[in-house]
Symmetry: C4
Subunit: 208 residues, 4 copies
């Protein structure tokens, strides 16, 4: 479909890899809710929300995390012109960590203390690093991208590798200290400004 | 595929967003059935259906709800020419509410009274409002649609924002008072008549 | 993708509908296995297979059933040139029944007698009839197909409406009386012969 | 999409078959994690990892197994020019075994001894053989591939039929005896060298 104007060696491979990854993301994001069950006893709607509050909060955070990871994944793959076996392997690593997220989210319910939060944020940071590995391999080792300046490639690397962990940590921090949201907004706006200066050609995303 | 005649900046982005959303809808709709198990003891087929009746009814209603939401989603996205980060975020909100629907459906089994029904219908209405947010952002803020008259954009907004809640409420009402179905039929036919007058070009849906 | 040579009004709609249906089929077929768990105690591999035999048999039968339904669905949709709202609704009915199949399969484990088998085969026959409804609507009411002789349209109707129930009944019958497999082979070969005489143009399937 | 340059009889059929298979692979790989739950009691992060070690190891092995099977599947289907009913049936056999893998993985948790490992590796080897059947049917019986030398077809057959079982057995062996990893590396590198000599045209993968 979008393969016609890329003129590369294996668009079919890249296309199937993207579809496969999307399916895993979609399943993982939907399974986040599958272990949430309504309480057996509840008196009135307010009581229902009080009882389900922690689970719904954890759900919302994890949903946002998978969303951010999916954005990063799309961002990385929209810059690729072809795929190879190495990309398959590193991408599989990302997907394997994504598929574990529903389980790691359960940790947050069972034991809502510092250590569970640490494991959770650590896991999300690991997903970011794995995504950074995918990009580093694609851009610097496998030469799978369209030609781009090195500064841009390094910026993308830092962005996809660090953003999931940072945003996840900041989100949980902001649930406790509301001024964390200001930090988050600054981070997102700042990254967008830098990103726009480095990549002034939005039309490039056509080969997603 | 359908990108060739749209001439926009990021058809790949839009295409991946649609596929991702479709996958979430498909998973949510299939998971509706996953918590339904046959009873351990049943005597004869009639007894089986009596025992399973409430769960199967709730399943049918929720299946129809996800179906209506999917139609609305398709309707909205068939009018878009491109996607951007803001659309990602609002769309994610819709998907997050859709993925919760199997859990909210369980509420209907556990405690089949007015409050459970209220939470359920409220959740469906919320999905509609979130879909309206997606459309309002796309049409009025992000300018992601193909050119269209403002009246049509407002009609689509009202339709996607209010229809899920209305139809869900009417369906449950009609299970108790059968003449509710006549109201529902009038609603659907009326909307189609207005829709046809406002959008006389069915060929526009090619860019879905 | 395959839209270029069809020249119809809404190929995007049809394409999204097919992808959505495929996803539901794929999820339902994979969820068939999700309630199967290995026994807690087993002595040797032979004992493991003896203990799991009934569940694995039911799994194999249901997997084949979903497979046959998917073939029928593909067969129907490969003959369509466009989609509309009515097709959405009837197709949703098919998907709703498909998504219930994992639950109906559990019936076969719990109570392996004539009544459970009857409910199961009845459910599969119902899926076939719903698929027949999709085709009847598409071919005779909505005029969504490419031009074809009426005899062919009627043959497709009988085939998709009756085949799932027949094949499922015959399969279960053949598990008890092995000469049922000969009947099944005769049915499949006969249908293929008739089908070839009526539809001598395999190249038509390009617009799937 | 990639159908335009293949000029075959039923690219739509092949395309839908690939998408359907991808979805089943994606669901199976994601469901591997669904039965893993965090322990109810754990003291410190180290204790958490000790308690979850066996499950996470089994998860990682199975994830890699599904990954290798997906690579094989992609490899096979990238060489096909069209699909037919026979391919549907053999492919369904592969998918049916893939969908059972989450259940077979549970075996490894419950009873971590030689017999459970034997069943597991045997199941993976069976997946490989089923994939070999798909390829043998496509290349030698159904003539569904693009023209290729017989030596290449036989090499692909051996590769897809034997690799999953071999790699799975070697992986589990290497968890006990670390020098098994060297064997594995030699196997992968050797296969790639032979593969490159036999198939010097990577551009052929465009029709995936």
């Amino acid at each position: 479909m979008s393969d016609t104007n890329s003129g590369d060696a294996s668009p079919g491979h890249l296309h199937r890899l993207v579809l496969f990854s999307d399916a895993v993301f979609a399943i993982a994001i939907t399974l986040l809710a599958i272990e949430i069950h309504p309480p057996h006893h509840w008196r009135g709607i307010a009581d229902l929300f009080v009882q389900m509050g922690p689970k719904l909060t954890a759900y919302a955070v994890s949903f946002a995390v998978v969303g951010v990871c999916w954005f990063s994944h799309r961002r990385v793959f929209s810059r690729l012109a072809r795929a190879n076996g190495g990309l398959d392997v590193f991408n599989l690593l990302v997907l394997g960590l994504i598929a574990l997220l529903p389980m790691v989210t359960e940790l947050l319910w069972e034991k809502h203390d510092g250590e569970a939060v640490l494991v959770y944020v650590g896991h999300v940071a690991l997903i970011g690093l794995a995504m950074g590995l995918v990009w580093a391999y694609a851009a610097f080792v496998g030469k799978l991208t369209e030609p781009m300046p090195v500064t841009e490639a390094v910026f993308v690397l830092l962005r996809v590798a660090l953003l999931p962990g940072l945003m996840c940590g900041l989100t949980i921090f902001s649930l406790v200290k509301p001024w964390g949201w200001a930090l988050m907004a600054a981070l997102v706006i700042g990254l967008n400004l830098v990103g726009r200066r480095l990549t002034p050609r939005p039309a490039k995303e056509t080969a997603a």
